[in-house]
Amino acid sequence: MPTVFIPAQLQSFTGGARKVEVKGKTLREVIEALDAAFPGLRDRLVEGDRLRPGLAVAIDSVICSAGLRQAVRKDSEVHFIPAISGG
């Protein structure tokens, strides 16, 4: 199952767990599975049908551009990180 790394600001949902394994073949499915296991997480990650503004997702350390449709492999790592650019 994909491993989701939980940011510190969301670890209150997971009882302090820094990473969890959930099922899912797409980012949408992973987030739905996260929400099923830890109710309320979805609303902290998604607004409407998109990732929340200011949030980015890296699958296997690569920033995704496909949003919730992004494919996730069984052994993938999923990170939620701030969306930033630079100067």
């Binding site: 600001q9 209150s12 890296a58 551009s65 790592e77 701030p82 930033i84 650019s85 630079g86 100067g87």
Partner: protein
Amino acid sequence: MATVKTKKTTKSKKASQIPVRYRVIGTRPIRHDGVDKVTGRAQYGADVQLAGLLHGGILRSPHAHARIRSIDTGKAAALPGVKAVITSADIGPVTDRVVDLGEGATRLQHLRDNILASGKALYQGHAVAAVAATSPHIAQEALRLIEVDYEVLPPVLDLREAMEAGAPLLHEDLHTDDLGTKSMQPSNIAKHLRFEKGDLEKGFKKADQIFEREFLTSMVHQGYIEPHNATAFWNADGRLAIWCSTQGGFTVRQQAAAILDLPVSSIKVIPMEIGGGFGGKIHVYLEPVAALLSKKSGKPVKLVMDRAEVFEATGPTSGSHIQVKIGARKDGRIVAAQAQLAYEAGAFPGSLVVCGMMCIFAPYDLEHQRIDGYDVLVTKPKTAPYRAPGATNAAFASETVLDEIAEWAGIDPLEIRRLNGAKEGTRRADGLVYPRIGFLETLGAARKHPHASAPLEGPNRGRGVASGFWFNVGLKSSVTAAVNSDGTVSLTEGTPDIGGTRTSVAMQLAEVLGLAAADVKPQVVDTDSVGYNDVTGGSRVTFATGLAAIEAARDIERQMAERAARLWGVPASKVKAAGGVYRHATDSKKKITFKELAARLDETGGPVVGKASLDTSASAGGGFGTHIVDVEVDPETGKVQILRYTAVQDVGKAIHPSYVEGQLQGGVAQGAGWALNEEYFYDDQGRLANASFLDYRMPTALDLPMIDTVLVEVPNPGHPFGVRGVGEVPIVPPPAALANAIYRAAGVRLRQLPMNPGRVLEAILTRDGKPPSKA
């Protein structure tokens, strides 16, 4: 300049269909915009002239923190020649919400309040009202006639005091987002973030020695030469045109649309030539104000800041308070690292403390880490990015502590970095794992450089080294490219050219098509004339817009192959293109050059236009730098003279080496200014005391030696040519490298920026426990 090449990885070879022996990449053609710039023909925002143009001015708060009880604009509006006067009331009501600006999100109310204060002025220079008049002089006279009744409130100038409970609040409705939980009481701390890896306590238990140090850095400005400017014309049909100096026409469009509650399609932004930005020309300040003045007056309106306005009212970068705790073994291995970074956000939330958190220990492979970050409001201008935003402050802290550890362990400063250095497969504190990176290669190149082993002759001299990291970004870019009948290609881009990107992007298109760089005619156009582009920032344009240009070139190449096939009456699959020549796959007599084929487009189907729109976030590739600096410290005055400077950086592949060298040298120059002289100097009432280039001391050519550069080329596997962003990394190491050099020259560890003569002298005088002389 020296260049160190490394082998491409297998992965990058697979990614590339382009030969490693380049015809254009790696050469130094004359820049496409060079003649216009050196002859004064290039058009900047202040040059904009339109029929009926009005001149605007902005009234700014003289107070750092004040409630605005009332604003009376009656006398100003009655002055002959005045055509419009506006305050925040003219922006109109709008429901507050979080707006996504493509590269970050912010509260709409904060965005609006920063361009025209409503309710409270939150820093000296905060815009309060604006006028448009038939001349700049009348506009200035009208500003003097606006009467503002202020209730002056206590300023909040010290970051640490701002964090304390009971500090005067900038925003009574702001509660701390403390690791995901909203604080009960309002606070000046907007956000507390954390990255964590491993088991910190377990790591510290393995340490032979633990080093805990504390650092302060001052707010500094990017110092671009060209002031902010904006001209706007709100047409009678509701369409709005904005001419301005910006790092991104599309972000100006997005921000203006949000502030003015307009659809983006009704706004056209024309980015003019830009005289520097370095991150400071991403936020809007004048554009929506000029638009509102134009709407009210029915005329085009131009606003141009003077230098004091730029300092007082645009975004400098954060001052900071950083605490670092590092545990090390006697052999120099780092076993645990902890940091707490508090960054000034200015008057509204949104410092880039998270970038500092991502970068502070990024050059190293550390098993146990915890990094906390705080975004803190103070009554100073809202901060903006500045070249590797947040990373320079962070590296000043971590890289000087590392230097101290090297001395304690008896290890060479470059060696301790190699010993702990990150490489492919290293997991950072934010969780991401590095692909192929070139940090160790920069250390190796630094060690081999003659500077590293040159004798230091004379007293009071010392050598310091430091490293730095910036992750670089990709984001979205679009280009179109039209083939001309003379065999040239007109390349249309939407990313403003700050650092020579017209040429570096054109070179990539030329390489694919087998043309000379001069055969490509690049231009940066308005937001109606090209697909969406994110800003010029994050060291992304040569990488991301370059990728778009490569795709557009391949699109052209495919179409040109079809045209050759038509000429020969064969399927397109029978035509092979390479180096600007199209050949029949099996008949060696049939071949035609790109230029010959371009002349025959009319008989083969008409114009050929290539295009590409990409989201390139996936593979930007981080960059690392290692710097060596020699200084001499005058023990009587505390003045630090830089004697020699060498910047080594993993640049991926240098498309135009002169530009890359220039980026490194520019970054070092700015970093040296930040380290030794520059700071926002406020009096106790929050008034900026040095809002001019005379008093805000940026380095000049007289302050710096020739800066030597070493371009280490470790190709980025995410780009066909191996490009990595190069513009941000070089500002990261200088303050730490200089602090380490000062230590070796004078025996004092400076932990506060700037390390100006006064501070250095005080450290020298108290070095042996003696207080400084009161004389």
